[in-house]
Amino acid sequence: MNWRQPHTGGMVMLLAVMAVLPLFLDNSFQYEIAIKVALNAAVCVGLNLLIGYTGQISLGHAGFFALGAYSSAILTDRYGLPPMAAMLTGALGVGLLSFIIARPILKLKGHYLAMGTLGMGVIISIVLNQEADFTGGPDGMSVAALTIFGWEPVTEFQWYWIAVGFLALCVWLSLNLINSPVGRALRAVHGSEIAARTMGIDTTHYKVLVFVVSAVMACLAGSLFAHYNGYITPSKADFFYSIELVTMVVLGGMASTFGAVIGAVVLTVVPQVLTVFENYEMMVFGGVLMGMIIFMHKGLLPTLSEFIGKRFHEPDKR
């Protein structure tokens, strides 16, 4: 299992997959899925820092995603800001918001934290639905095209590189964070918050930090999604989307950055495949999800690497 240990190996592999993938994508529909996978994965990488490493659950991250998407949409449309400026303003705003609510919310533990974050997400979603003058209400609103210093990505191919580039950046950031003193502090919080505190770790500080980082990642992914899609509805702030994100993290394997990416790939692609089941789609999806987690508690990547480890590296193991 050592191939994962020096994280550079995994990073190189991820970049290689990203570079080779376009050779296998031959229509815009497949590109569209790839782009959505990359953006979901970016959110999951951030969320995994919070859930997988720090052990703090959030059932409200769709709210941050939607805030990013809507701030891009509203600031460019209603206030004429250039897209990049709107995106940064949104990220700054969400960073500030998450910083303010992080302290009271992260005081909660376990299921109470789940409820607190869930409530936060639901409130964001209701506001987006109701303030129709700004957001267009449940019907949503259109979003201006993205321009990066005058360059406007138009083809799916160009968008693919923006999305995977953003994902690579998030993965790189996450890996660096985990392998730093901050990462060790986060894992200490996960192990036992009291023990961490007695060792002199300012646990509140680190919990707030990782909450803000994950919120801003979700927010930026939301901005990119809004520009790419050209249209945004409040459904992206939905409780279900929050659940979907958490499910991706758990399915991929908690406390594994690449696991989060794989979880996002599986849960974004599977529903596309399942459309062949038409009416039975939801039933099959629920069944598949249940089955996968019942048989692989630790998630896809850890189970898989354990299996490979057993098969091929038998002598090295204990």
């Binding site: 005081k107 409820m115 409130i123 999806f285 999800l289």
Partner: protein, 291 residues
């Protein structure tokens, strides 16, 4: 003025009682397994939808209700046997995701088996409202509050007067110690699913005449039930009832006096406010974190 207030209070207590019933289900399962069972809302849906479909198949109403409760209970038992028990050693988040998967599966199955339409159920004793100081009280509301009282009394007797109920409480206080004094903890877990699914289905049947029943009815009701359980303090079934009433009444008052669009938001704002000041809910046990 008074009539208006009374009207909001009545509707608040009615939905609050339902939230409380759903909330008890969350609390009972949480007590025996530390799991938040997100399929709780689906038991509510099965209760309502199965009753509707049995009645339309010609089964008399009381039998249809019993059949629906039985079906929900069977689903609850199957869920425990095939999903929760094989994964007992998995982390709690994983168990939560399993119940979420199960709830998606059940919703999907309901849409295939029944349909996606809205159905209404005939109220148990007609829909001629009773006039109280100008406010209208539907007979169904009396049924709902009455059933809640019967269930609360029944649960109180069960937990305080029967050996099985005490065994359940003991398990929730300390699982290992309970096992050591000879309590079959696995059966307790199964029993908690039986109780919760039954209560959920009863809630679903009772609320159907007022707010219709459909395949996704369990989503919001499940969330509100969860809120009720949290506000009252997780693991405290009676707290869940009070939590449900608080959420229900707050919602009805907001809808009446402030804005009906924001009634759901206000419910959640109250929950956040309660949690910020009392991180373990109103009546939650103090949790001592051990190192």
């Amino acid at each position: 003025m008074l009539a208006e207030f009374l009207q909001y209070l009545i509707s608040g207590v009615t939905v609050g009682a339902i939230y409380g019933l759903v909330g008890i289900g969350f609390s009972i399962i949480y007590n025996s397994s530390q799991v938040i069972n997100f399929t709780q809302g689906e038991f509510v849906m099965i209760g309502g939808m199965a009753t509707v479909s049995l009645i339309s198949a010609g089964v008399p109403m009381p039998l249809a209700m019993l059949g629906a409760v039985a079906l929900a209970t069977i689903v609850g038992v199957a869920l425990e046997k095939f999903c929760i028990e094989p994964s007992r050693n998995a982390p709690v988040v994983t168990l939560i995701i399993i119940t979420i998967g199960a709830s998606i599966f059940l919703r999907g199955t309901a849409e295939v088996l029944w349909d996606r339409n809205f159905h209404s159920l005939v109220p148990i004793s007609g829909d001629n409202p009773i006039d109280i100081a100008g406010a209208k009280l539907l007979p169904q509301s009396i049924w709902i509050v009455g059933s809640l009282m019967v269930i609360v009394c029944g649960l109180w007797l069960f937990f305080n007067r029967t050996l099985l109920g005490k065994a359940m409480l003991a398990t929730s206080y300390n699982r290992l110690a309970a096992q050591l004094v000879g309590i079959e903890v696995r059966n307790i877990l199964l029993l908690s699913f039986v109780l919760s699914s039954t209560l959920g289905a009863v809630a679903g049947i009772l609320i159907a005449p007022i707010s219709m029943t459909y395949s996704t009815v369990g989503v919001m009701l499940g969330l509100k039930g969860f809120s009720a359980a949290i506000v009252g303090g997780l693991g405290n079934p009676m707290g869940a009832i009070l939590g449900g009433l608080i959420v229900g009444i707050a919602e009805a008052m907001t809808a009446g006096y402030i804005s009906s669009a924001y009634k759901d938001a206000v419910a959640f704002i109250i929950i956040l406010a309660v949690l910020f000041f009392m991180p373990n809910g109103l009546f939650g046990r103090k949790v001592v974190e051990k190192v």
